[in-house]
Structure formats: structure tokens, C-alpha cells
């Protein structure tokens, strides 16, 4: 199948990118390159690049640990050390990983941070997470506080506040740790590359408007957002990756092909869903299978917008680099207020001709989860489409009950089928 052959090209490229990055990280103690740790939402990757800094994203390490079935061990380790069962399991996975040798997803040891860049965007836990890491690593933290869009808007005062933080705190801290002087031209260069990658990413995600959708915008989507949410936004490699990916997806679309799943091509699209909330990582493939074996394709998801909400028009703007970074941070999905989030879901349902909204409510993440039941009800009220609700966790296997989740997903899909039928006599 030609679609699959082309597909592999971008996957190979992505794999290479990530492997190179981890390899470079593992060599940092020898090469002397400086390492910063930071968070995916509101990350300042272009800025870090301008200082030749290597970023590490503990959230990504945590989810990768879960996919490699290591998170349970790490969580236990952290809980034994006094961390409560109630709190975020990303944090506990990260701390457990650190205490067990800090071996990263590639199997190579991760270097300790020279600086923790606390991009405090849309998640309260981030603040505590890096305060905890500061004590573990005994290294400095620089805070970048992203004001929340409490009233659903970004005011000039909010932008000023962020830009001032960058000028007076973040940039000096980066200069100090890297020994490199801030050069706005380098930043602008990276931002131009970001813009190109972002436009291509949006085209990829929006391909799901097509019937059948050539992609899965959630389970597949998490792979597509990898490079842009990770360390590569603003690099020529990332721009190249997205150009390549877009080409492949457009080719699939032209051929009328469905998404590729770990179990092969999804040929028969029966359900088009919008999904709110992050996926479960401990049983990621099993979780995905519960959808694709029923012919359910996720055409749009909010999770793929946590590291940047590009499909509503935002692009990094090299003409106003710091202001644009501020807008980027404040625009990330979990930094939007609940009414904005409901609007977005409603818009997705309409633009992507979805059959309904499924909420995956994760125990760890109150930023996502608190209020989801109201969002669901509002969505149903406004669109008349059915909503479904499942509960799992990000990386804590104790909170993924396969039978329970499958039961709910199947019930939900059967409900859609039944509702679709012209009369009550129809087969579910």
C-alpha cells in the first residue's frame, strides 16, 4: 500500500529526530551543552534554541515511562517517599524515575538540569513539580507565570506582564546558564520556521474534516504533535518533518484512505468523535484499539492543543517575537477558560461533522478534569449530539480498568448507532 510506505518516511524522520535529541542529551556532560527542564504547555523552545540549550520535558518522560510500563514502579517509589496517592501521577513518575537513575525513554541516562524553566501555564501542579525538582537537583528555577484567560481574553496588561518576565527574569537566567548573549535575530529566525511547521500541522489536523478521515486526531494526533510540542519547534528539521507529514496525509486523503492504527489500516469509518482530555498512556494501544476495532475515528481532540492552539489562527510571529511567545503561552488549551473550551468543542463538532463528544476524564489532571461534566452537558445542550464519559488516569495503571472503559465506550457507540437509526426498531 503506497500510503503506508509514504507514511513511514515521516515516522522514520520523527524517530531520528527524537533519538538524536536524547543522544545529544546523554552526551551533554561530555559536550558541555547546558540542559534546561521545562513543560510542554507554554514552552519557549525557540528561545532556548537561541541560547543553544537542550530542553528536557519531564511530562514527556513520564508518559514515555508509562508506555514502556515503567510508571507503576516509579509511582510506587515516589509514594513510598511520602507523595500522596491523590496527586498528579506525572509528578510521581518523574520523581520515581529520577530516584531510580534518571534513565530516559531512549534507555540513555538523562543529564541533570542546569536550570528549571517553570513555564507556569494552565496547570497549578507545574509550580509544585519544579519546586520539588529544585530540591531533588539543587538547581535554580526561573518562573514564567502565564496569566490565565479567566475572562476568555488576553489583555495588553497580561502580554506586558509576560514580556517583562521574559526580559527581566527568563532571558537573563538563560544568558547566565548558557553564557550566550541574547540575540533577537536568532529568535526571529527560529520563529519563522515555527510558523511554517504550525501551518503544516494545522493542515494535517484539519484533514480529519474529510470523509473518511485520513488520520486519527487523538491517538494518531499525539504522534503528530510530538516534534512541535517537544524540543524541535523552530528548527529546520521540524519544518521539514511537517512538510513531509502534510504531503503524506494529503496523499492519503486523495486516495480516500482511513487512518493507520497499530493494527493496520482502519478501512471502515463508522463513528466520528471529538475527544476531550488526555489519553491514558499505560494502556495506550489497548485504549486506541477499543476505538478502532469499533470503527471509531477521533476527528478532533483538545489534548493535541495543550502545547499550542494553532487551528484557531495563532502563529508565532517573528516581527514581535516576545509578544508572540506571550500570546502563544496564554493561548494553550488548558489556559483557556471553561466557556472557551466549550465553544471550541462545539466548533469541532460542527467543523468536523462529528457524531458526538467523548470525555476521557483523567484522575491526575484537575486542570483538564474539573468542570468536564458541565462541559459535557453544555455540549449536549448546544449541539444535540450525544456525550460520553469515561474515567482513567494518565500514567497510573491502577486507574485504568479495561473492562470498565471498554464497557462505557461500547455502550456509548451503541447509543450513537441506536440514535442514528430512523426508528426505534433499528438494530443497535
Amino acid at each position: 500500500m503506497s500510503g503506508k510506505a509514504v507514511k513511514e518516511q515521516s515516522m522514520v524522520k520523527q524517530k531520528e529526530l527524537i533519538q538524536d535529541h536524547y543522544h545529544e542529551l546523554s552526551r551533554a556532560p561530555e559536550t558541555g551543552r547546558k540542559v534546561i527542564y521545562t513543560f510542554v504547555p507554554g514552552n519557549l523552545t525557540e528561545l532556548f534554541r537561541a541560547f543553544d540549550l537542550l530542553p528536557v520535558y519531564p511530562e514527556i518522560n513520564a508518559l514515555q515511562s508509562a508506555m514502556r510500563q515503567k510508571s507503576t514502579l516509579f509511582i510506587n517509589e515516589a509514594e513510598r517517599a511520602g507523595h500522596a496517592e491523590d496527586v498528579c501521577t506525572y509528578v510521581k513518575t518523574d520523581i520515581g524515575m529520577l530516584r531510580r537513575g534518571n534513565v530516559g525513554p531512549s534507555g540513555e541516562k538523562l543529564p541533570p538540569p542546569d536550570l528549571l524553566v517553570l513555564s507556569y501555564t494552565g496547570c497549578f501542579t507545574f509550580m509544585k513539580w519544579f519546586e520539588l525538582l529544585r530540591q531533588e537537583y539543587d538547581c535554580p528555577v526561573v518562573m514564567l507565570h502565564t496569566p490565565y484567560q479567566g475572562d476568555g481574553k488576553i489583555t495588553p496588561s497580561m502580554v506586558r506582564y509576560m514580556v517583562e518576565q521574559m526580559r527581566t527574569e527568563v532571558i537573563p537566567a538563560l544568558e547566565k546558564v548558557s553564557g550566550i548573549k541574547y540575540d533577537e535575530d536568532r529568535l526571529k529566525e527560529a520563529m519563522a520556521l515555527s510558523e511554517s511547521a504550525e501551518t503544516d500541522l494545522v493542515a494535517v489536523l484539519e484533514s480529519a474534516k474529510h470523509r473518511p478521515s485520513p488520520i486519527d486526531g487523538y491517538f494518531g494526533g499525539v504522534y503528530y504533535i510530538g516534534p512541535i510540542f517537544n524540543a524541535f519547534r523552530g528548527t529546520p528539521e521540524a519544518a521539514e518533518y511537517y512538510r513531509m507529514l502534510r504531503g503524506e496525509v494529503e496523499e492519503r486523503m486523495a486516495q480516500g484512505l482511513g487512518p493507520v492504527t497499530p493494527d493496520g489500516l482502519l478501512a471502515n469509518e463508522k463513528f466520528r468523535l471529538v475527544v476531550e482530555g488526555p489519553p491514558n498512556w499505560t494502556s495506550f494501544r489497548e485504549f486506541w484499539k477499543m476505538f478502532h476495532e469499533e470503527g471509531a475515528v477521533v476527528v478532533a481532540s483538545t489534548y493535541t492543543k495543550v502545547g499550542g492552539l494553532y487551528d484557531t489562527g495563532f502563529r508565532h510571529d517573528k516581527e514581535h517575537p516576545l509578544e508572540s511567545l506571550a500570546h502563544y503561552c496564554m493561548g494553550c488549551y488548558t489556559n483557556n477558560n471553561l466557556p472557551q473550551r466549550i465553544d471550541l468543542l462545539e466548533r469541532y463538532a460542527r467543523d468536523y461533522s462529528a457524531d458526538g463528544l467523548l470525555v476521557n476524564s483523567v484522575k491526575s489532571c484537575n486542570s483538564f478534569s474539573a468542570g468536564q461534566l458541565l462541559m459535557l452537558r453544555e455540549f449536549e445542550k448546544r449541539t444535540g449530539l450525544p456525550g460520553g464519559f469515561i474515567e482513567t488516569d494518565l500514567v497510573d495503571a491502577r486507574y485504568f480498568s479495561a473492562a470498565n472503559v471498554k464497557n462505557r465506550i461500547e455502550s456509548y457507540l451503541q447509543m450513537i448507532t441506536q440514535k442514528r437509526a430512523p426508528s426505534a426498531r433499528a438494530e443497535a
Binding site: A81, G82, H83, A84, D86, V87, C88, V91, L118, Y120, C123, F124, T125, M127, K128, W129, E131, L132, R134, Q135, V141, M143, H145, P147, Y148, G150, D151, S157, M158, R160, Y161, E164, Q165, T168, E169, N337, L338, P339, R341, I342, S361, K363, N366, S367, S369, A370, G371, Q372, L373, L374, E378, E391
Partner: protein
């Protein structure tokens, strides 16, 4: 007023979950009332706009939660459920506006839920700065305060003049001092002001106009000083973690019954979030902003630019001569529970004993906590004898 009368009054207000007191105040003053959630909201602004600030601390075990549970998963703490329940059952009808401070993601998202559920009420999320430079965080916070002030002026129908605001600041400064006097009494002679009573007296400030509450607190302090009460052979503990969702009254009582004098706590921390006085000279909005930057209570919800955390707790233990620390956090409370390991590490380093448990505002049984607190108290005694 006698000690008993004061405590009964406070008790009645504590149980006034329908906010009859607020409704009455509004009628008498032809004014409006603005509710807010824990922890920190500059109540001075509401007062200066001629409105009554009302601190919402949930409903404890006083209401059955149905509509609240409909909106929250089981792994989310209790306070947003009971606040929603109160609102949807009409018990918050006396409130004309709501402020939601940046305590955690749950309270933050609650502000958005409010916008959806109650579109005709004034709702605002307060993002306190996590940058503490006057030029950066200070400027932002002043700007935020200015916007809030403008909103409150519209809501209250009255201009917040500099002099009115300065006057409100002075009233709240006095209130903070009165609360300080009560804490001082409990630090020095805890048997004179039992934890339960002191708690109720402070909670009365949730709804009472500030000047009335100040007098109320002072009347209590004086009556308690004069009361003939027996000093018991209890140990002295500091309690932390309970700054947002409040422990049930019986839990506070249980601690003392189990042999622990609570000589310091962070219950209802919002009422004394600013430590010391806010300046009354100069631009009052600037003064409120600066006070937050430089003198907000050390707390899990405020970033601390330099580590390690927890020095303040060790210092508090020393200052109040507490023999140990009780970590009492609401189940699923992100700020308190994420903070706790850092505080424990700080205490361990200084050899301060501690114990920990979790609660929910509607907890119904206290036997386990009674036993735990009793054992802790006994061990503290052995510790000090050794």
C-alpha cells in the same frame, strides 16, 4: 458580651448556610454582597465599594451533596461540590458577585463553571502574580486590581475613592491585628481559647462587616483571658494544610480532646493572608499590590523563588513553641498534598516531629484521627522527656 454569648453568636453564623445574615445586612444597608473562595482575595476593595465581602468556605457537613456531585468526579476535593450545591439550591442568592482566586486548578475552573451556570452574576477569576518584582508582578497585579476595582464600582454603584480605600485598608489592618491578638493568646495560654471556639470566632469574619468582626474578636479575647479555665497537660502542635477546604468542626475539637493544643494553624488563611499592615499612605491600590508581593503568608499556592521550601514552617514552630506539626490536608488537595513532602523534609532536617492525615469537609467519623492525634501527643511527651 459574655464568652458564651459570643461563641453562640459565632456558632449561629457558622450554621447560617442560607446566608440570612448577609441578606439582612443587605436590606439594612441597601447594599450588595460579593462572595469569594479561599484563599486570598483583597477584601478591602469590596468593602471600599460599599459592599459586604463574604468568604465562602463550603458547607462542611451541613448539606447533602447531590447537584455538586453531579459536576465533580470522585477524585476532586469536596469544597467545589458543596459550593455548587449551595448555589444551585439557592442558598447563595444573597450574593451579587463572585471572586475566584488562583488557589488551584479546581477553584480556577470553578470560575468558568460559574460563568456558564450563572450568566447573570458578576464572576471574576483573580490571578495573583507569581513574579514578585514591583516592576513586573507588581505592575500586573496593580493593573488587575484596577480592573477589579472598576468592576466592583459598577456592581456596587459607588466610586472607590482613594480615601475610601485607605479607610478600608485601615479597617482590615485593625482586623488583622485583632486576629493576631487572638493567635497570641492561643500561643501563650491555649487552654483559655480552645481551638474550636477560636475557630468559630475567626470564621464569623466570613460574613461580618470587618469593623464589627474586629470588635467581636477583641471582645472574645478579653472574655477568654478572664475566663476561669483549667490548664491541661496537653502537648502543643501546629496544624497546616487546611487553608482552603475546612476541616469539620468536630475534627478541630477532636485534636484538642486527644491531647493536642493547637497553638498555630492555617485554617481560614485568607483572612490573614497579608502579614502585618498594608500601608495607608500613597496610592492604596499600589499598597495592596506591594503588600502581596512582599508580605503574603508563605503558602503552597504562592511560588517561592528560592528553595528549599518549608523554612517558614520551622520558624513558625520555633516562634509558637510548638512541639510538633500535624499535617491536615483535604483529600485530593493539590496544593497542600504536593507541598507536604517538602515541608516534611524541612521539619525532618530540624528534628521536628510530625504526623499527617487527610480529611474531607463532610467527614463523619473521627475515631481514627482521635487515636492518631492521641498517639502523636503521647509520643511528643515521651520525646520531650527523653
Amino acid at each position: 458580651m459574655s464568652l458564651q454569648t459570643l461563641v453562640e453568636r459565632a456558632e449561629a453564623l457558622y450554621h447560617d448556610i442560607d446566608l440570612r445574615f448577609v441578606a439582612q445586612w443587605k436590606q439594612e444597608h441597601d447594599g450588595k454582597a460579593v462572595g469569594h473562595l479561599p484563599i486570598y482575595v483583597p477584601r478591602e476593595l469590596i468593602d471600599a465599594a460599599g459592599m459586604l465581602p463574604v468568604a465562602l468556605h463550603g458547607a462542611g457537613d451541613q448539606v447533602e451533596i447531590i447537584r455538586g456531585d453531579a459536576y465533580f468526579q470522585s477524585y476532586i476535593c469536596q469544597i467545589p461540590r458543596s459550593v455548587i450545591e449551595l448555589a444551585l439550591s439557592g442558598r447563595l442568592a444573597a450574593l451579587d458577585g463572585f471572586l475566584f482566586p488562583s488557589t488551584c486548578d479546581v477553584i480556577r475552573n470553578l470560575s468558568g463553571m460559574w460563568k456558564v451556570l450563572f450568566p447573570d452574576r458578576y464572576v471574576r477569576y483573580l490571578d495573583v502574580p507569581q513574579n514578585f518584582s514591583v516592576e513586573v508582578g507588581g505592575k500586573f497585579w496593580t493593573e488587575e486590581l484596577r480592573e477589579i476595582a472598576a468592576d466592583l464600582e459598577r456592581l456596587g454603584g459607588r466610586k472607590i475613592t482613594d480615601s475610601a480605600l485607605a479607610e478600608s485598608i485601615a479597617k482590615f489592618n485593625d482586623n488583622r491585628r485583632a486576629l493576631g491578638e487572638l493567635f497570641e493568646l492561643r500561643r501563650g495560654e491555649p487552654w483559655r481559647a480552645p481551638a474550636r471556639e477560636a475557630y468559630l470566632i475567626i470564621r464569623a469574619g466570613d460574613v461580618m462587616p470587618v469593623e464589627e468582626h474586629t470588635a467581636f474578636v477583641r471582645a472574645y479575647v478579653q472574655a477568654a483571658r478572664e475566663a476561669d479555665r483549667v490548664k491541661r497537660d496537653h502537648t502543643r502542635v501546629a496544624v497546616t494544610g487546611a487553608f482552603c477546604e475546612q476541616p469539620p468542626l468536630e475534627l478541630i475539637e477532636t485534636l484538642e480532646r486527644a491531647g493536642c493544643y493547637v497553638v498555630w494553624d492555617d485554617f481560614t488563611l485568607g483572612a490573614r493572608f497579608i502579614e502585618g499592615d498594608i500601608e495607608v499612605q500613597g496610592d492604596p491600590l499600589d499598597a495592596i499590590a506591594r503588600a502581596f508581593l512582599s508580605r503574603s503568608a508563605p503558602n503552597a499556592c504562592v511560588f517561592q523563588p528560592q528553595g528549599p521550601r518549608g523554612g517558614w514552617l520551622v520558624e513558625t514552630v520555633r516562634r509558637t513553641a510548638a512541639e510538633g506539626v500535624v499535617f491536615a490536608a483535604p483529600s485530593f488537595c493539590d496544593p497542600a498534598l504536593l507541598e507536604q513532602p517538602m515541608l516534611e523534609a524541612a521539619l525532618d532536617k530540624e528534628g521536628v516531629p510530625h504526623t499527617a492525615f487527610k480529611y474531607a469537609e463532610n467527614l463523619g467519623q473521627f475515631q481514627v484521627i482521635r487515636e492518631q492525634a492521641g498517639t502523636f501527643s503521647d509520643s511528643l511527651r515521651l520525646w520531650s522527656e527523653a
